[in-house]
């Protein structure tokens, strides 16, 4: 941000500082509730409050006991593994279907492409509880309710809109003369897709995939409707944990989830920058 120019009027000065204050407040309200969880998860006591020892920064006040509990207690391990199984499967499915849909819908000659696009994106707009209830009735009829496959399918449906949106955005910048060039050089449409188009839209595919993964990994409403006890995921366990046994292990679980999210987003950013450098969009 540039400094105030010397000719700025009083109004401009007030806005200049007011704007910074508003931005600061927004960041504070967004981040503070999440950041508070991290130190609390190292609490040596079984409480959700900062003990006097913690405030004095006394090592006695901190411990890893909630993390130990999280990684050893079968009540947490089962859901953790369920989440680790369901989320990647749902991600893979949404990435494949979403990418294909985005490429198909970016062809100008597809009839009714706007309507189809709106339909595919609707899971993102329709209130989750309504989708979940609808899926519950539909999936129980066809015997998918209470199965891993059912949960994966439902989560994939929720993830597809993210993939479609990010891949469509990448395709806007995709030069269609590149596919023509590839065809002209003798590459079949399949070779062209894997050798030319896919590497160039990969950043969009990856970020869509990450959003799909996090959607599935954080999802609680649909899994409550569609899952049975054996498909209990991490968010579900946290949700019941909050209602039934208020234990700081939830905070440890939350910190682990936050860490995973940050790592994923950082990976995404690094990949995006790498691909920009390869495409020559920014100086190397």
């Amino acid at each position: 941000m540039s400094a105030l120019p010397p000719y700025a009027s009083t109004g401009q000065r007030i806005w200049h500082y007011g704007f910074r204050t508003i931005c600061g407040l927004i960041f504070f309200f967004l981040i503070a509730p999440i950041m508070v969880i991290v130190p609390l998860s190292f609490n040596a006591e079984n409480f959700f409050t900062f003990t006097p020892e913690m405030l004095r920064l006394d090592p006695e006040g901190y411990s890893l006991r909630h993390y130990v509990d999280f990684f050893t207690n079968p009540n947490w391990q089962g859901p953790l593994w369920n989440s680790i199984k369901i989320a990647p499967a749902a991600t893979l499915l949404s990435v494949c279907l979403g990418t294909l849909a985005a490429i198909g819908l970016s062809q100008p000659h597809v009839p009714g492409r706007r309507a189809i696009m709106a339909m595919l994106i609707s899971p993102m707009i329709v209130p989750l509880i309504i989708s979940a209830a609808g899926m519950y009735f539909f999936y129980s009829r066809i015997g998918l309710q209470g199965t891993y496959f059912g949960v994966v399918l439902a989560h994939a449906a929720l993830g597809i809109p993210f993939v479609i949106i990010t891949v469509t955005a990448t395709l806007v910048g995709f030069d269609s003369s590149l596919t023509r060039a590839a065809a002209n050089l003798g590459a079949s449409p399949v070779t062209t897709f894997f050798r030319v188009q896919m590497p160039l839209i990969l950043p969009g595919v990856i970020s869509g995939g990450l959003f799909a993964f996090i959607t599935s990994f954080d999802e609680v409403v649909v899994v409550l409707f569609l899952g049975s006890a054996s498909q209990k995921t991490l968010p579900w366990q946290m949700f019941t944990g909050l209602r039934e046994q208020i234990s700081p292990t939830i905070l440890a679980a939350a910190t682990v989830l936050i860490t995973i999210s940050i790592v994923l987003l950082a990976t995404l950013e690094i990949l995006r920058r790498r691909s920009e450098r390869l495409r020559g969009l920014s100086p190397s």
Binding site: L178, R180, G186, A187, S188, L278, L281
Partner: protein, 365 residues
């Protein structure tokens, strides 16, 4: 060089193209090219020249008619099986691959062995003097260098036919002239048949064996550059190629190789009838600016002369460009060589001009 009959390597037969089913972008196109020819499709934008190129490459399908390559119809062959090289307007180099990988791509999809691939890539890069740049990415190259790589990529798999879609449009003037020379040299040395699309007439005249002038979805004239410039078939070609002076009038008399034209301002001149056939027909008389003579001593006996008033004199170094008022037209231009005996005229001077009847062509109006 008519290239008719069995000798045709590339042939368009009664080809029509319509995008919307109503208006024809290409109207009844017939064209045949012998092997090894450098043919340029020249025309204003929207004249159908790029559409023709895209139909040949297979990216557009002809609505009617047949396109033949080496005697075989290629209407039903998909682009990737046609084996035609192409240089795209924006080069279309793959940004995620290095220069060498770009060149290697057409060889890989043809399942050529690694050692052969490397040798061919090296040869193609050396051919365009880019041997040092194999490991660079396209974004690290200048426009001219990218152009060379695009050319090398179109030639590396040794196609017999290469298409070029305004490949020099994005380069600056000096580089463009250099590349014009280099492309023609390569095309002739390798003996490849080339179809070159451009809207730049200098490019068309300097590079081609034959030029097809497109307008309104039709070929207006297909001829070698000198014939096109000196003997345009109709007033569109005369206007489009080079600079041209036009005088409007009515045919008064036709006798074999000459005709008399009564200009709208009343003067009578002699012209060569090209596509006028009847007395009384409206005509557009065309004279090239460098064929107008201002020195009456150099003119043949009996030549018709016209009175002219100098409006503007521009010194351009090698030539003088004089704008005159002739027979009511204020945009009559004469180009004269900068020679010691050539007078530098001043605005307002009244002079006489003339020309040889064969340089003055009576065309359609």
């Amino acid at each position: 060089m008519d290239g008719s009959g069995n000798a045709a390597f590339v042939a368009f037969e009664r080809v029509q193209k319509s995008y919307d089913g109503e208006t024809l972008v290409v109207k009844d196109l017939n064209l045949s090219m012998p092997k090894g020819e450098f043919l340029t499709m020249l025309g204003p934008s929207g004249s159908g020249k790029t559409t023709c190129l895209m139909m040949l490459a297979g990216f557009e399908t002809a609505t009617h008619g047949e396109i033949k390559l080496d005697g075989q119809s290629i209407n039903n062959i998909p682009p990737h099986k046609r084996g035609i090289g192409m240089v795209f307007q924006n080069y279309a180099l793959f940004p995620h691959m290095t220069v060498a990988e770009n060149l290697s791509f057409p060889l890989e999809v043809r399942k050529i062995s690694k050692s052969d691939r490397e040798a061919k890539v090296k040869r193609a890069l050396d051919m365009v003097q880019m041997g040092e740049f194999g490991n660079r990415r396209p974004a690290q190259l200048s426009g001219g260098q990218q152009q060379r790589i695009a050319l090398a990529r179109a030639l590396v798999f040794e196609p017999e036919l290469v298409l070029m879609d305004e490949p020099l449009g994005a380069l600056d003037k000096q580089l463009r002239e250099h590349m014009q020379f280099e492309i023609t040299r390569l095309a002739h040395n390798l003996g490849i048949t080339t179809v070159y699309v451009t809207h730049d007439q200098t490019e068309a005249l300097t590079m081609s064996d034959r030029v097809a002038v497109f307008d309104d979805g039709r070929i207006q004239q297909l001829a070698p550059p000198d014939k096109l410039y000196e003997e345009p078939d109709n007033s569109f070609v005369a206007q489009f190629i080079g600079e041209n002076n036009t005088l409007l009038g009515k045919v008064e008399e036709i006798s074999g190789e000459t005709c008399k034209v009564r200009l709208d301002s009343g003067e009578l001149i002699v012209a060569k009838p090209v596509n006028v056939s009847e007395v009384g027909e409206r005509t557009r008389v065309s004279i090239r600016p460098e064929r107008v003579e201002m020195n009456m001593e150099r003119l043949q006996d009996g030549a018709f002369t016209l009175k002219a008033e100098v409006l503007e004199f521009i010194y351009m170094g090698d030539i003088y460009r004089t704008r005159l008022r002739v027979a009511g037209h204020e945009d009559f231009v004469v180009k004269t060589r900068n020679a010691p005996d050539q007078p530098r005229l001043k605005p307002g001077e009244r002079i006489e001009i003339g020309w040889l009847p064969e340089d003055c062509r009576a065309l359609d109006s």
